[in-house]
Point group: C2
Chain length 323, copies 2
């Protein structure tokens, strides 16, 4: 296999000149550049990319932290992140990190060593003390220190919108179903706050039915709700997966949906859009969020300051609310 | 930041000795090794991983080709592949390659340059001419040349099993619904073959309802089936996603499932297991397949010869067949 020495020799230039052309760094005259490129072509020279990364210190790899790729919201987001990274010449490493903080710390260490160029993080682990605002890290749905940028949908407005829809379709007794965390503050809690505030402003009775994340037995948790709160006729559930489960459990208990109980989820997951009954939900613009995450992390890799990006949401009418 | 030179100086050893300790290669006495490790600790020296990869030529990265991570079967498989790679010290790059052969070729080129160590490929692109059996590549559900190893479930037995279940529950007129490809031979076609052969051996009428992959309008394709083949009372569908769509379309047409029409899918996707009606399906052992793919690709990276791995399947009773 041809080496850079062979290229330099055939082109009649020094090793340094050949290297500058290959790495596209430093001044080389157009005439000399052409000679080197011709030699590269003639010899079928393939630059060793690892060696090149060693020189440029940009591995062109971004690590994506996910609780689990085996979740339809995360896999949909990951799809668009990979697509946008690829368009920008970056590769994406996946790190399924649910409950495994040491995996995330390992990648943060790789970032310090330039083995990865940046990190996009959907994380519920406590990594605050391991990162700082000079690192090219962008988070999803989570604040972590003043200056770590993040991307989220407008969770507060989403909560308000969910209440508005329930109110407009005649639900007079509503509930929010979801989780809370004692250790970290996530953007997701704004969904509850937006919903609660809107209900309060309207003078509507609003029940909070929440359990600490992760819920040990989600089926039992949801079944209890259906059996205890029989007067409630409108529910906003933290995410689509849990909302769909509630729909199914309600149907098994012969509760009419949406007449007896209206249900709204949050996410707008594409994987579930073909299912019946179709879930009414607050849709996050997943594709736009994915591409925006990549834009921000690349800016950070290049040392450009960035602002958080909050994306607006819409209501998707399905079969689980009165139309 | 401390360099390897600082480490060597503090330990009182040569640069080559310090390098051998850091890269764990070549002989170094225990006493000297301890000196170097102590110096590393005192200086807080972090080895540059890119530089290390340059020396060892194993990037510890495996690329996973998927048509799209935004598909519940692939994301479930990807989850276990990442988990097993991680346990073995490898990182996983995702390549969503549906219809984008140039993306796959780019990774194959990176493999040639040692930028990735191996490839696990779920691919429907024509890359036969770009790979050879000396490369550390393992495929899923697809033969490509004599010596490229692959992992699959026992698709032929799965097709036979689906027919057996339909027969045992009284379906006398059955159909296979799926796709075919003119350009490549996939393992998936064995599902059809197993089903067809079993029906023939039993003397049962069997209709093939197939269209070239990718199907342009799947809803129209499935609705046509339901409207034309009203006498058919048992169907085996190529995969769960399409089977679930058929279930929903049938319910919209007020066809009773399973009494009028029994439906069996293929995959056993976990994401759908909570949905109602629960799909009856032939379940691939997705976790075992994912871990087995990693085992094979690591053997290939280390130059160890391997055999294809065929995993057995089971029938999962749901609500779409008579129990």
């Amino acid at each position: 296999m041809a080496t850079i020495k062979d290229v330099a020799k055939l082109a009649g230039v020094g090793l340094g000149t050949a290297s500058r052309v290959i790495n596209n760094s430093g001044y080389v005259s157009e005439v000399t550049k052409k000679k080197v490129l011709k030699a590269i072509e003639q010899l079928g020279y393939v630059p060793n990319e690892t060696a090149r990364a060693f020189v440029t210190q940009d591995s062109k790899i971004v690590a994506l932290f996910l609780p689990s790729i085996h979740h339809p919201f995360f896999s949909e987001l990951a799809f668009y992140i990979e697509d946008e990274l690829n368009k920008n010449g970056y590769n994406m490493i996946i790190c399924n990190s649910s409950g495994q903080i040491e995996k995330e710390l390992n990648y943060i260490n790789m970032l310090k060593q330039n083995k990865v160029s940046g990190i996009i993080g959907i994380t519920y682990n406590s990594i605050e003390n391991e990162i700082n605002n000079s690192m090219p890290i962008v988070l999803v749905d989570r604040h972590m220190g003043e200056n770590i940028p993040y991307v989220s949908s407008d969770n507060y407005a989403g909560g308000q919108l969910a209440f508005q829809v329930l109110k407009d379709t005649g639900c007079m007794n509503v509930a929010y179903i979801g989780t809370f965390s004692k250790t970290i503050i996530t953007e997701v809690e704004k969904r509850r706050k937006g919903f609660e505030d809107a209900a309060k402003q309207n003078g509507t009775q609003c029940t909070l039915y929440i359990e600490e994340d992760p819920i040990k037995d989600e089926t039992a948790f949801l079944n209890s709700f259906l059996k205890i709160f029989k007067d409630i006729n409108g529910v906003f559930v933290e995410n689509d997966v849990m909302a769909l489960k509630l729909v199914q459990l309600a149907l098994e208990l012969n509760i009419n949906i949406p007449e007896q109980l209206s249900i709204i989820g949050y996410d707008g997951i594409e994987t579930y859009s073909a299912l019946r009954p179709r879930l009414s939900t607050i849709r996050q613009p997943i594709e736009r969020m994915g591409r925006s995450l990549v834009e921000l992390v690349i800016k950070r890799i290049n040392g450009v300051p960035v602002e958080p990006a909050i994306h607006s949401v819409v209501f998707l009418q399905g079969d689980t609310t009165i139309s």
